[in-house]
Chain length 360, copies 2
Amino acid sequence: MSDEFDPTSLVCPLPARDDTQILLGHGSGGKLTAELIQRLFLPAWDNPLVAALEDQAVLAPASFGEGLHAGGRLALTTDAYVVRPLFFPGGNIGTLAVHGTINDLAVGGAIPRYLAAAFILEEGLPMDTLRAIVASMAEACRAAQVVLAAGDTKVVDRGKGDGLYVVTTGLGYVPPGRNLSVRHARPGDWVLVSGPIGDHGMAILAAREELPLETPLVSDTAPLCGLVEAMLGRGGQVRWMRDPTRGGLSSALNELASASRVGVQLEEEAIPIRPEVHAACELLGLDPLYVACEGRLVAVVAPQDGPAVLEAMRRHPLAAHAARIGTIVADHPGTVVLRTRIGGQRVVPMLAGQQLPRIC
Amino acid sequence: MSDEFDPTSLVCPLPARDDTQILLGHGSGGKLTAELIQRLFLPAWDNPLVAALEDQAVLAPASFGEGLHAGGRLALTTDAYVVRPLFFPGGNIGTLAVHGTINDLAVGGAIPRYLAAAFILEEGLPMDTLRAIVASMAEACRAAQVVLAAGDTKVVDRGKGDGLYVVTTGLGYVPPGRNLSVRHARPGDWVLVSGPIGDHGMAILAAREELPLETPLVSDTAPLCGLVEAMLGRGGQVRWMRDPTRGGLSSALNELASASRVGVQLEEEAIPIRPEVHAACELLGLDPLYVACEGRLVAVVAPQDGPAVLEAMRRHPLAAHAARIGTIVADHPGTVVLRTRIGGQRVVPMLAGQQLPRIC
């Protein structure tokens, strides 16, 4: 019939446009947003949860772990990532975000299961940059057996947002019986670190400042969930773990000393630091104890289990250079003290201001 | 003994500093970060989960709902908020973030339980601004009976970050038997909206552009979880719900038409729009069908349950002006068509570019 209404005849063709970069319209919730999701995010995050395109991902309790009905619990963590530059030796802001959130779950004894990622994009961000970051995030999730379950994208004006910020939220499963806490350290416990400290922070700084270094510095960014399972699988008493990111080893141990009301006695000689990291720190007047790692953990372990846990760590590829770096003591509660190479003692306080901004 | 080591003697006093605004050091992970958490966030978010100061919040399955062991599921959603201005009539970026995330859970049939919030702060942000936003977020959480379980703060350089961005992630409980989906619309279903559309988007625009309006425009930002429970409590077949935020009513219904492979027939006359919102839209040449709401929902309901669900909505304070605005049809699948006041038909396509940036 000639008067039949054909709605498709009324749809205007889209104007020609630049699809090599992010436009404000990509954040509008309209057609451009839908295209960005369909063409860029969904192919990378190939799973039914995001493909459902609902405003929320629905998760079956059984997908967390069998023990959820028998004393198991859930763990939730969130982190914003604003690191510059976006790409650095060893990773990029996306892999860092995935690893960082996985690690915050893992050091609490949780097995990471699901991730949500929110992107704040600057107008003009090259589409290829976003594509590369999203692809590496998907790969990092697969490697750690974590499912990217939910996402969001907003676009801010040119000149704001520094290219890209990403916020990742992690949801994990804490099997029954695990109970790590920053309040659990006891005098006599061993303090262990899984590898050389400060690699990430100095790699970022070197990339940002284009430092002329003989040996290139590479970030240690890595997912620690496998290492944690290897340590906890020993059955030994791990009291507490932390990934020493912002504020470095010093901040993590100061928080422990304060919360557990114990002292921490560190041996400078025992703390693994790569010579090139040490050299870069000296060059810039930085203390490696305050420089961030993104693929290391510090753990406090009951003394009788110290040797076995340390041994388990050293058998894991991410902790071949694990070391005992100190002891929990009853003296000077709330304070971290370092015995220096020449035998002196110095307090290692909480970082007062900032040593190195925007490293994560 | 005179040679006893007193570590506190070695701690240097902090330099005097400005504590009226955000400094880069507040994002360093050191003492300033700890102070910001202790003095600003913890007093507002007064609960044991954040007070534990662990890197992750541990949640008991029983805290979600009794049915989690009997067919209940979890729902996860994340959203970034970059709205300008930070404060607007009816709310601020913080209340918007809390309500928006709660609503994304609620429209999926989930009861919101926990929230995580990540803040990206611009150096120089007045501390009082942050305090006011955090306090209103805490109040919004309390009002919706949601627990703020995890948080993070980063600081970016002056000139970046636009004052403050916030990313909220929500975790909720989907009781057994609830199964709403964007794929579930069937011809004959009623299309309902809970109240006047476009209030939020036009309130933001009026505040941003300082429009000279006789009647001030106020955002509709509100938590929809109570309204959703009232609707689902009827036992009727609600097929799908969505809060029409970015892209407005049009985008929500276009997504539905496309995913369910149905047509949507809207009646212009039936769509509630405040006269002042209509006037502001005319003034600026905007189509209210594309303007965001942050406290409204659109629902598709089986025809036999339409009257009862509409009645239940109208008894709720947030939906006194709920209306049936259209019908799901078998014709023109994938397309939303509006019958205008003068009897014409026009296609309401997905928003192609952007009508109104950064309204959430």
